[in-house]
């Protein structure tokens, strides 16, 4: 009885661990890392200078490494940039002079 319980317990633990690993891998592949972050604060900026846009593009990898996310949409002459950052990080950490405001 004890032996079969131990085996069942071990199998269950293995299955659960595998499922958790698979979920992490799948979400990482889909870029849905936000599932594993408590809450991301969204900041947005309307950028009209090409130099500012290039700076954000250059910072993208660093922001993602810190657990954040960068989204950009071009709307006419304006590039709308959203930064999703895990607290306590703020845009000031990456681009203190650019006009990001909390949404």
């Amino acid at each position: 009885m004890d032996a079969s319980f131990c085996v069942a317990h071990g199998v269950l633990r293995y299955v659960l661990r595998s499922l958790a690993t698979a979920a992490i891998l799948a979400s990482a592949m889909c870029g849905e890392r936000k599932c594993f972050v408590a809450s991301l604060q969204v900041y947005q900026a309307l950028l009209t200078s090409e130099a500012s846009v290039q700076r954000i593009k250059a910072l993208k990898r660093e922001i993602e490494r810190a657990g954040g996310r960068v989204r950009m949409t071009v709307n006419g002459s304006v590039t709308v940039v959203a930064l999703e950052l895990p607290p306590p990080l703020t845009p000031a950490r990456f681009a203190p002079d650019l006009p990001f405001y909390p949404v």
């Binding site: 009209t48 200078s49 006419g76 940039v81 990001f100 405001y101």
Partner: protein
């Protein structure tokens, strides 16, 4: 591979960032700027009305003693009424207007010497040093957080040539407006504070001008009556301010403890009060100009 491409395409769709958001009250606001007022057709009409009202009340479009400016800049030109008129008053000058969004209703073709450019002043003005001999900004206090004002004034100084003039006209919160307007003011102050904006910042612009080294400065407070007691000007001012408070309903009720019902009641009370004989409400403006050495 096909599955991954499909996944990536799906992800791209969700990454679109909206430039505008519509409030519960159905007004369209810019997202990503601290500007508190809406950016929609209703607001374009109000801004045009406000321009004509100020021109009528102040008896002109500017106060600085400019003679024959060659290049004029309007920072945060909104619907472009002011720079368009300046382009007509000074046909030999090149007049530029910048704003973060194009709110020009384009009901008539612009004068050939007027040029509009989309630009965010917080990224710096997109002009070389000393480009203008008259740099003007009006009613920016609803858009510029306190921390950004020194940068805005510094940029205005930078693009103005030696001997050129800089002028600012800022609105201050209403005074003596009765209980309804007091409540609306409180809501507006709280909402502005949450965005880093001081609704009373207009009085500090002259200090920034002075600290920047402007000379031949003039700064004065202009008190305009608001309400029926002020005659035509008072009625126009009441129409403008009540439209401003209507436009602020969404941001105020979303960011403060003031409920939509309480806001509507305060607005109704303000509307009623400005039409009574006991109303002595005033709308203060701070006019300030100076010359760059």
């Amino acid at each position: 591979m096909g599955l991954f491409r499909w996944l990536r395409r799906g992800k791209d769709k969700t990454t679109t960032v909206e430039m505008y958001a519509t409030t519960e009250a159905g007004r369209r606001h810019l997202v990503g700027v601290p500007y508190t007022l809406p950016k929609d057709d209703q607001e374009i009409s109000r801004l045009d009305f406000q321009h004509y009202m100020l021109r009528y009340t102040l008896r002109g479009d500017y106060a600085a003693p400019i003679q024959q400016p060659r290049r004029i800049l309007d920072v945060g030109c909104g619907t472009g009424r002011w720079p368009r008129e300046m382009a007509q008053i000074f046909p030999d000058a090149e007049v530029f207007g910048i704003d973060i969004a194009d709110a020009d209703p384009k009901t008539e073709p612009p004068p050939p010497n007027y040029h509009f450019q989309i630009a965010n002043v917080f990224e710096g003005l997109p002009f070389p040093d000393g480009s203008f001999d008259f740099t003007h900004a009006r009613l920016l206090s609803a858009a510029v957080p306190c921390a950004r004002w020194p940068q805005v004034v510094s940029e205005m100084m930078r693009v103005t040539c030696p001997g050129g003039w800089i002028e600012s006209l800022e609105a201050m919160p209403l005074r003596d407006g009765g209980p309804g307007i007091a409540q609306l003011n409180d809501g507006m102050f709280q909402m502005c504070e949450a965005r880093g904006i001081d609704a009373n910042y207009g009085v500090h612009v002259q200090e920034l001008f002075r600290a920047s080294g402007l000379t031949n400065m003039l700064s004065r407070e202009i008190l305009i009556p608001m309400g029926k007691y002020g005659g035509r000007i008072g009625t126009m001012m009441a129409t403008d301010w009540l439209a401003i408070f209507t436009g602020l309903r969404g941001p105020v009720t979303a960011t403060t403890s003031m409920s939509a019902d309480a806001y509507d009641q305060a607005l109704a009370s303000a509307r009623e009060y400005v039409n009574t004989d006991r109303c002595r409400c005033v709308a203060p403006f701070i006019l300030c100009y100076g010359q760059k050495n």
